[in-house]
């Protein structure tokens, strides 16, 4: 809660300084107001802060190419995550971060661990509560509400989020509902920097928390739709984030 307050306070200061003309002309809400509306809309800060883990199961489709996959994503406090995508004809694509080691494994490239700028970016953006809209102030240089615009087919507040380390992004929040509805990010990948446009929607309640069940992404000109059908909280065991044997071997020094 205190961390969140620091983020918002710092961001609001920068916004005021950077956009004096727009502030009056468009009557934009503050960053605090934008984030607080989203947090309240999905269940409230208190409920979110009580969460320790989440598991999301669903499907990924690249409909135009006829590719579909089962997806399982798990995240846990403070910054652990893992994802497994099973694609017929291709196999299993896995990624993970255990707080120190960021890794990937797939039948095309084989096992690998992230290093350098890629690792720093993974570390910087790994935060369990960020997934719910509660940000760590220490990780950002500034956060600004830039404008009211159109995104994902609706009116949205565009929020610029500049990280001290790692990929910065634009986040979009629905003017009508207050919910986070998407982002534009430059991801650091082994293939270089990659623009990722995401649209989140179809929020549904899973216990005390509302979560988006549709996530459409555009990467490298390809449209990807992820649909979550099952979301559960606080049931992920710590061994879900254990490094697979091939990654353990990579981490060991020769």
């Amino acid at each position: 809660m205190q961390q969140f307050t620091r983020v918002i306070a710092a961001a609001f200061t920068v916004t005021t300084l950077a956009l004096p003309a727009l502030a009056g002309a468009q009557a934009l809400p503050s960053v605090t107001e934008v984030f607080d509306r989203h947090i309240a809309a999905i269940g409230g800060r208190e409920a979110i802060m009580q969460l320790s883990s989440v598991q999301q199961k669903g499907t990924m489709e690249m409909a135009a190419m006829g590719i579909s996959a089962d997806v399982v994503i798990a995240m846990a406090k403070p910054n652990k995550s893992t994802m497994t995508m099973s694609i017929p004809g291709l196999g299993e694509i896995q990624q993970g971060f255990n707080g120190e080691v960021a890794w990937g494994n797939d039948p095309m490239s084989g096992p690998r661990i992230s290093e350098g700028a890629e690792l720093e970016a993974r570390k910087a953006s790994a935060n369990f509560h960020e997934s719910f809209g509660i940000y760590d102030t220490e990780k950002f240089t500034s956060i600004k509400v830039l404008e009211k615009t159109q995104y994902g087919g609706e009116e949205a507040y565009k929020v610029e989020m500049i990280r001290k380390v790692g990929p910065s992004s634009m986040a979009y929040f629905s003017v009508a509902s207050g919910l986070f509805i998407g982002s534009q990010t430059t991801a650091v990948t082994p293939m270089g920097s990659m623009e990722i446009n995401a649209v989140a929607g179809d929020y549904k309640p899973f216990g005390a928390i509302k979560m988006p069940t549709k996530l459409s992404q555009s990467q490298a000109g390809q449209d990807i739709m992820i649909t979550f059908t099952d979301i559960t909280f606080d049931g992920v065991k710590d061994d879900a984030f254990a490094l697979p044997p091939a990654i353990q071997a990579l981490v060991k020094k020769p």
Partner: protein, 422 residues
């Protein structure tokens, strides 16, 4: 309305995704205006496909094609005679060389082997089709690589068929005597895999160890870049890791999932260098190889550091060319065989409203030196063509030459930095 919707969709996809906004010099809007009335008037799937083919063909670039729904939608295990899928086969490999359609390989235990067919024989007639004579008439009037591809397709089109059927083939043996064999078609080897909208493909990998003057040379051959073979390649590398040299035979490998080049290439480099760069209209992506430091038993190992020879031919296409050209640029491999197809553009396969598949390139691809493999393909460091006399002696000239080089070549220096790419 369906023909028009199909045409408009195909046109729009290319308009939106072609990496070159000049469309390789084609006025894309004018082309739509000229072809659209023909699409609207199309009364059959065949007529519509002809219009669509005219559209994609106007680009004069590889990886633009219309795949009929009845070809793409064959289920894995289907019995239809579809190129690349588990149709019945007779166990022959053929190549056009020296003005002849040569048998270059006979699979052990196959119907062709049981019928006594031998490498070095020529194929003159398949069923009622005097294929060799037809191809001979084309020789000289078209690019030799196109002729090689046409020869392959004609031969495969006649030799493949529903399992349980047979085909009568007239050969000419090493003594120039006519040999007529009726060959049964049977499912042969490999793993059938369907990836997205692409038709089912047969994926096969084999490896062997040769000893040449006391030196150990590992030979790996595979026919397609499909992830289902990734593990098999890893296993082969584990078995051949102690070899003095390595030969990778990708003749007749028509490509597949381009990302595979990063993992396979990673077995041969000790640093994360790109095998090339893919550039779409929106962005560039480096195909960075992943140095493979773990074996299949999850033990730490070093990537293979010895000499590596690649064997290619005119039927080495797409990802095969990306891989061969990229590693050749990095001086990590020596390439043997024949000039590759020159069809090396990253592509995707999208469904159209009529059910057909629009196969279309979405990016340019260039190797570490900045060159494109589209068009010229990969020029071998040592050109070695199939020769009938050698085949009749039981030799495989390109593979034998590559293996001999790999046995004695010095260990190359580390690949640390591409010459052009950042």
């Amino acid at each position: 309305m369906l023909p028009l919707a199909t045409f408009d969709t195909a046109w729009s996809i290319i308009a939106r995704t072609h990496w070159d906004t000049t469309y390789n010099g084609v006025n894309w809007t004018a082309l739509r205006d000229s072809l659209r009335p023909r699409a609207a008037a199309a009364a059959t799937q065949g007529e519509l496909r002809a219009v669509l083919q005219a559209m994609v063909g106007s680009l004069r670039q590889s990886h633009f094609d219309i795949i009929p729904a009845e070809v793409s939608d064959v289920a894995v295990g289907g019995a239809e005679a579809v190129e690349g899928s588990r149709a019945g086969q007779v166990g022959l490999t053929t190549r056009w060389s020296e003005g002849l359609l040569l048998v270059t390989d006979v699979e052990a235990g196959s119907p062709a082997a049981r019928a006594g067919v031998q490498a070095g024989w020529t194929v003159e007639q398949i069923g009622a089709d005097t294929v060799a004579a037809r191809l001979a008439r084309l020789a000289g009037s078209t690019d030799p690589r196109r002729l090689a591809l046409s020869a392959y397709r004609l031969a495969e089109g006649g030799l493949r068929g529903a399992p349980g059927t047979s085909v009568t083939v007239r050969f000419r043996d090493g003594a120039e005597q006519a040999q007529v064999r009726t060959l049964d078609r049977a499912p042969i080897g490999g793993t059938e895999v369907k990836y997205g909208n692409l038709p089912p493909q047969l994926a096969d990998l084999s490896w062997e160890r040769r000893t040449i003057d006391g030196r150990r040379v590992g030979v790996i051959r595979f026919n397609i870049w499909m992830p289902v073979l990734g593990r098999a390649f890893d296993v082969a590398m584990d078995s051949l890791r102690d070899s003095d040299g390595l030969v990778i035979d990708i003749r007749g490998n028509f490509g597949g999932v381009a990302g595979m080049a990063m993992g396979i290439g990673g077995h041969m480099v000790d640093s994360a260098v790109p095998v090339g760069i893919m550039t779409t209209r929106a962005q560039s992506m480096k195909f960075t190889m992943n140095p493979r430091r773990v074996n299949t038993a999850n033990e730490r190992v070093a990537p293979f550091g010895g000499p590596v020879a690649l064997v290619v031919d005119a039927l080495s296409v797409s990802t095969s060319e990306i891989f061969a050209g990229g590693l050749q640029d990095l001086s990590r491999v020596r390439v043997f065989g024949e000039q590759t197809a020159g069809q090396a553009l990253p592509a995707v396969a999208e469904r159209l409203p009529n059910g057909d598949i629009l196969y279309h390139a979405i990016a340019d691809f260039r190797g570490p030196s900045g060159r494109s493999m589209e068009g010229d393909g990969v020029i071998p460091d040592e050109v070695v063509r199939p020769a009938r006399a050698a085949l009749l002696r039981g030799e495989d000239p390109a593979l034998d030459r590559a293996a001999a080089w790999a046995a004695t070549a010095p260990t190359p220096g580390p690949v640390t930095r591409p010459r052009v790419l950042p």
